[in-house]
Symmetry: C2
Subunit: 367 residues, 2 copies
């Protein structure tokens, strides 16, 4: 069925040039005349020649392969992967995905990448211990994205400033007049400690140290749901909640609905990641954008730098951006002024100020 694929030799014969020259042409290396290039490419096209990637990688050790380790079914990772593809577009880089998921550990996912002789490995929101990263970094350049890693590990780090992001959320809520602001954290997720600290310190800075309230959460809607029920147990509940991510925040919204609390008038909710989910909840979520583009670009930059000439590990920290939407809009006077760079992505509503959650079938309304 599969008629032997043509090799470089075939191409050489068919075009009448030597193998070496043809090779030069195929990888756009200097050392061939324009005329020759044209002719060779033409014949290549004709006989359907495709360079054999395995042989190329074997010989040159420049496979151009960059391994990307991510958690499938983690929305934030999906978006990140998308932007990594975009950031690597046009470059001699080939992304190889390796997913970790229930039943396939991150360690396993990373190892298969190494097996494939990737030139560098990108770890998205990794929860690998630093020692494991350090071990990998001995073999190939490693770039950890969206997660803090100690210098000793010797891996490049590209992350957005989670500490600052959480603080921005608190500032925003305080400005809206909130005092009882709670935080549903991300448990062992990458970035969780930073956001916890950012939240706590900001509260203290506003003289709200006594109001600090952190409950365990996670990245699932059910985490936000459960945590919210906990928050509204005995004692006065919060008037505002900063959730670890948008999914979690969606869970808060659900729980609020069940508890008969209106968002945002009874409870303001802030998510994190500014993912698509932030726009598809019943009440569009105020959220912190980690600016995927910046993260992705920085990541690819580091990868390129390291595979070109391995240097010392560097940390790149990008600034998150607060995107205000309805879930915190009504709490005080200010309502408009959406910072959003993506509002209305879904085509209908979502932008501007819709009358009130629940009464305007403008758009979304997940829930």
């Amino acid at each position: 069925m599969a008629g032997k694929r043509p090799t470089l030799v075939d191409l050489a014969q068919a075009s009448g040039f030597s193998v070496a020259l043809v090779s030069i042409v195929m990888r756009d290396a200097p050392g061939a005349s324009e005329e020759t290039r044209r002719r060779v490419k033409e014949v290549a096209e004709q006989i359907g020649y495709q360079p054999n990637w395995l042989a190329r990688g074997l010989r040159s050790a420049n496979s151009g392969l960059i391994g990307v380790c991510f958690a499938i079914s983690h929305p934030f990772h999906a978006d990140l992967v998308r932007h990594l593809y975009q950031a690597s577009f046009g470059k001699p880089i080939d992304l190889v995905l390796s997913a970790h998921l229930p039943g396939r550990s991150e360690e396993t996912a990373a190892v298969t990448l190494l097996d494939k002789r990737c030139e560098a490995v990108v770890l998205l929101g990794s929860t690998l211990p630093e020692e494991a990263m350090a071990a990998m970094a001995k073999q190939v350049p490693v770039v950890a994205v969206a997660r803090r890693v100690g210098e000793a590990a010797g891996v490049d780090v590209v992350r957005s400033d989670d500490y600052a992001g959480a603080a921005m959320a608190v500032d925003h809520l305080v400005e809206l007049g909130h005092v009882r602001i709670a935080h549903i954290d991300g448990a062992s997720q990458a970035g969780a400690p930073e956001r916890r600290d950012g939240y706590r310190d900001a509260m203290v800075r506003h003289g709200l140290g006594d109001e600090v309230r952190i409950v365990g959460g996670g990245i699932e809607e059910s985490d936000g749901y459960g945590a919210t029920l906990e928050l509204f147990g005995p004692g006065p509940g919060p008037t505002a909640v900063l959730a670890f991510n948008d999914e979690c925040a969606a869970g808060v919204l659900s729980a609020a609905a069940v508890l008969g609390r209106d968002v945002p008038s009874d409870l303001a909710v802030v998510g994190y990641d500014d993912s698509r989910r932030a726009l598809t909840t019943r009440v569009p979520l105020t959220s912190l954008a980690q600016t995927y583009e910046a993260l992705a670009k920085a990541t690819i930059d580091r990868v390129e730098a390291q595979i070109t000439e391995r240097g010392p590990a560097i940390e790149v920290v990008t600034e998150p951006q607060l995107v205000v939407r309805e879930s915190t809009a009504g709490s005080a006077s200010k309502a408009g002024g959406l910072t959003s760079g993506r509002g209305g992505r879904l085509g209908r509503g979502g932008r501007g100020r819709s009358s009130r959650s629940g009464s305007d079938p403008g758009f979304p309304g997940v829930c």
Copy 2:
């Protein structure tokens, strides 16, 4: 930094055997004594030898690489990928993921897989034209999952019976006493035509041909939301809706809430895929399970069969399963009797009969 990785030759020297013998041991091929195997593996472990996958692939043409083309951020695909990993566990198979997403077409994703000399390619819910598939199939075995493909394309097909699934949903709803049953379809998604037909024919079979009502939908919550608003425009709205997938069904739930219609008493909703989402909506969704395990196993089976000895393309059709939950439970007398094989997956509630949506903070409740 990267201290030259040991090669087979190194292993041979270190263990005192010949390269060939060591090779035999490393790939568990017949032709070496137990004692030798033990010794070689020991030394391999010691010097940290890892077979070079590129060289192996180059030489043997049995890279063991299976390309998987999927849509990142498509929950159904994520689950499928997970099960593919599980189904291939322990086999000499290595899954290579290639995602398609906004900005990276499925065609591109597939081509990179071919470039990598995968031995076979698995297409999840592909929307590629049959000609494109046929072209690929000329190069390597192709298995299309969860999508119908004409015989002429020469690709193996593994799908669940969407036609039957949609019909089962209708049967269930009719049994519950519903008459005005609408279908929000999947537009150009894989499987959409089959589900449309299954719905329509089942309606006709029940003498409900005049009640057939199909509106355009999709796989996003916003699709379900918009479609529902459309359904409840002028004229009598439906009392039951079969959505294309669970996400879409979640959108129906949102819209129902906005329109003040209780689920399931005013409106019964059936999703599709029985994804995690089906459990995290405020009202747990009755849904059709495509039985990932079966699909994944069949897929890996076909792949193995085709790379071992390429034979004629085959179509494997698995039976979907109706999983009844609250979103259709209250409509008639019967309420319990959950078929679910996963109810309560989230640990709390979800199974059995909870009092009524909205009043029981038992579990989920998204939205």
